[in-house]
Point group: D2
Amino acid sequence: MSRFYRLVVSCPDRVGIVARVSGFIASQGGSITEASQHSDLATGRFFMRYEIQADSVSLDAEGLRQAFGPIADEFEMRWALYDTALRKRVVLMVSRASHCLVDLLYRWTAGELDCDIVGVISNHDDLRRLVQGHDIPFHHVPVSVDTKAAAFDEVERLVDSVSADCVVLARYMQILPPRLCRRYAGRVINIHHSFLPSFAGAKPYHQAYDRGVKLIGATCHYVTDELDEGPIIEQDIHRISHCHDADDLVRFGRDVEKAVLARGLRWHLQDRVLIHGNKTVVFA
Amino acid sequence: MSRFYRLVVSCPDRVGIVARVSGFIASQGGSITEASQHSDLATGRFFMRYEIQADSVSLDAEGLRQAFGPIADEFEMRWALYDTALRKRVVLMVSRASHCLVDLLYRWTAGELDCDIVGVISNHDDLRRLVQGHDIPFHHVPVSVDTKAAAFDEVERLVDSVSADCVVLARYMQILPPRLCRRYAGRVINIHHSFLPSFAGAKPYHQAYDRGVKLIGATCHYVTDELDEGPIIEQDIHRISHCHDADDLVRFGRDVEKAVLARGLRWHLQDRVLIHGNKTVVFA
Amino acid sequence: MSRFYRLVVSCPDRVGIVARVSGFIASQGGSITEASQHSDLATGRFFMRYEIQADSVSLDAEGLRQAFGPIADEFEMRWALYDTALRKRVVLMVSRASHCLVDLLYRWTAGELDCDIVGVISNHDDLRRLVQGHDIPFHHVPVSVDTKAAAFDEVERLVDSVSADCVVLARYMQILPPRLCRRYAGRVINIHHSFLPSFAGAKPYHQAYDRGVKLIGATCHYVTDELDEGPIIEQDIHRISHCHDADDLVRFGRDVEKAVLARGLRWHLQDRVLIHGNKTVVFA
Amino acid sequence: MSRFYRLVVSCPDRVGIVARVSGFIASQGGSITEASQHSDLATGRFFMRYEIQADSVSLDAEGLRQAFGPIADEFEMRWALYDTALRKRVVLMVSRASHCLVDLLYRWTAGELDCDIVGVISNHDDLRRLVQGHDIPFHHVPVSVDTKAAAFDEVERLVDSVSADCVVLARYMQILPPRLCRRYAGRVINIHHSFLPSFAGAKPYHQAYDRGVKLIGATCHYVTDELDEGPIIEQDIHRISHCHDADDLVRFGRDVEKAVLARGLRWHLQDRVLIHGNKTVVFA
């Protein structure tokens, strides 16, 4: 696998940004293999993502960052330069349902998810064997009404102890406390089992069944301290009919959920998702 | 085009319904070309729709109805027997946007919608020429805050004067008064330009844009006196991304709206939609 | 899980079939939970599938079969009556790629596939651990140009030794000999990684890439002795663009393949697929 | 509607292209509203499309072209700079089926297709009224086996007389002679009513019906002198089942055809489609 630098930028839009950034990269000898830009006309903000072959540049990542600093300052950029040699460290959080976990573990072993899965945390012990079979540490952190605060202190400790870059709620049925949502802002990805904003909250398939909708969906989004209200990364749907009962909806839903979560996570790991207020720019 | 009788039934589920109904049809010599059944396990209600070649039966529609009456009574059926020789009479209601109207008129001339379009009512005069070019009467009934009551009296008079079986709100931007919703219950079809229950009410595409969803949708449903809450007949979606502004959403939305409305209306005209509480059984 | 009898019939179409069959079921006290019929107007053939609650009938499966025999004879039916208490016995055949196998094993453990997986045969040893981790016998039967005949004798012996009802080629990259195709006709299901009839034969994703198509697909079909020409059960597609190279097509393809195979197999196991010449009727 | 310049380029890939082009645009004060690039790793070719606000640049289109010339030469570019003030001139060719024509005319009047429709040519007279109702010249050029050569001379004369930039075969059922295909290479767009390369040639829906596929499709492509083999711009599909006869396939097909053609044509008119050998890069 080739090594790349990924330069991800957002800033107020104005003439000359692309020229300045691409000129900088060219001056370093950088070979650009993928380039994406977006001008948001409503807010006047500009977004870009460049993928640069690492071995085409003489500076290392830190050197590039320092050299790029003055340009970033001049254009008031929020920016990051990622080195794909440093794989993101991911913690998965699950409950009892295994479909998203099985899917993510398959994709990870197949090389579709470019990250290190450094641990799985669950409030139940059911999926221990599956996780350990992939040589990944499994942490059972039970959560009850009384122990909630202590449990999430433990979750925080575990996440911090492995220096996780990203936490994935892969059908983790608990709500993260607001403090953690804010502390890990932009780094916690959830899969919600409805086509948000429809059917936020609990038991969305049963809500969908009761309303008699003809499509069910799933939504991958960043977690914020407002439940099911964070920036949406990806959504998809599955067609249903009167033939299907609530159990069928759950079954179809599993397929949509795992597909949507896998796409959203893959894009996040490839630094393709830029948060913009409560929305996302996804350079898919 | 062949002529058919369509027998549409719902009743409490129990052993022997299909045997009794199909036995009755066979005893009349009836050749069944399409048969659909559904048992709703949650409510214990049974639904069926049979399509029978008219010339295979010696009785006429009224004769069949009388012969079938005792069976219907025995099983406590809600039922109807339709004769496709009597085409449904449809009134379209539109405002200024023409996309659904153009689409329905094309499908009607192409033979996809088996009905007579007996009139178009609009609160604006813009689409008069298009309608009259298809030799369909056009009625301009302006609606303002002050004239609303009188306007809808006029709408009611027009609908009744043509003995309409079905009223289609093809992007008619006014809300029907509750009295008409109730009077024409199960006979008024609306296209809402969102994936209900998301974004009910006004300007759904702008709501969708603001929320940052990745799919937009449209919903075809029966009108009830609760706005955007009636039984859903059909829904579909279109994928969007950060590249698309609210105008693009409107443009994509037009395609979804007209497709969803056309499918929903076609099924309604073919007596494929059975209302069941606030849900539908669609034998598509 | 409730126990059902499934009556699956095809016969020349004529008046009274439904009445006769449903009358028979009613006379046995049978409660029908799902009923599907189809009249193929082009060929004059009729197809039906009834699902009957087993405990609503006093006869057992064999008794029902004997009682139904005279009706079947009278209408010249090809028919079968299945008892869901007897789960179908399935052999999976794989090569090195694990995506379909992982997916089927997940669905099987989740209860989505109502069968016994009685063995996995592979021409490579790579997937042994995965299979044995699910407590399923794994058989490594290498195939080379020289050993082909002996290898397929061994495959046949293994399939027969477990009394398999169904063989699934879950990305098994070898071609079954015509003799086995004929012997197991209607019982061998393959997943082909293209939208047949496009790109039959080898390396379909590379063929698709070279042709510059904008959608790739997968096809689940019964195997016949004409390669990639058997009756199609299910197909689906995934959208691609110029951004995607042949490796991306392979990656997207995996998702389509496993979804299409899982749906096709599920329908087969539920006796929803009726073969009709080189086509299928699928009561999905 | 704002006025834009569109710079569309392909050239051998090397370091510094984006820097050079965007530097040039910035030096002219150009405000870039949309930018797309693609590096084809298999062939080492680079593609780009920039949309520039016209009033942000002091030079006019011709001045820009002259200023850009040396850069284009240096990088061996194939390129064009379009001015959206000069709308493309489009000739539609149709036969008897009206669905694509009705759809394109609606989209054109709704402002979705940024072009002048300067004429419609048909080998039948059926659609004259529809066309003339939109104040577009209609030309009836009958084609028979004997008159084919003369007829296509007349077609050529008509296309040339209106200085057409683009010819759209909107279900024109005749095959253009190779000479015209070559003369108008890259400017003639066809809609084929199958998911190519499946079912090339005549009556694709009947071919699809006979093969028993579960999806039908349509393909929008540039016409070359090899029938149904030109570069594909867009494709889509519609799900079908055993319930649908060949007429249903035709009906569903109409919806797919018109959607696919409209998308392909819109992208072409916006200079989003770059031909690359027998494939396309579509900056959609």
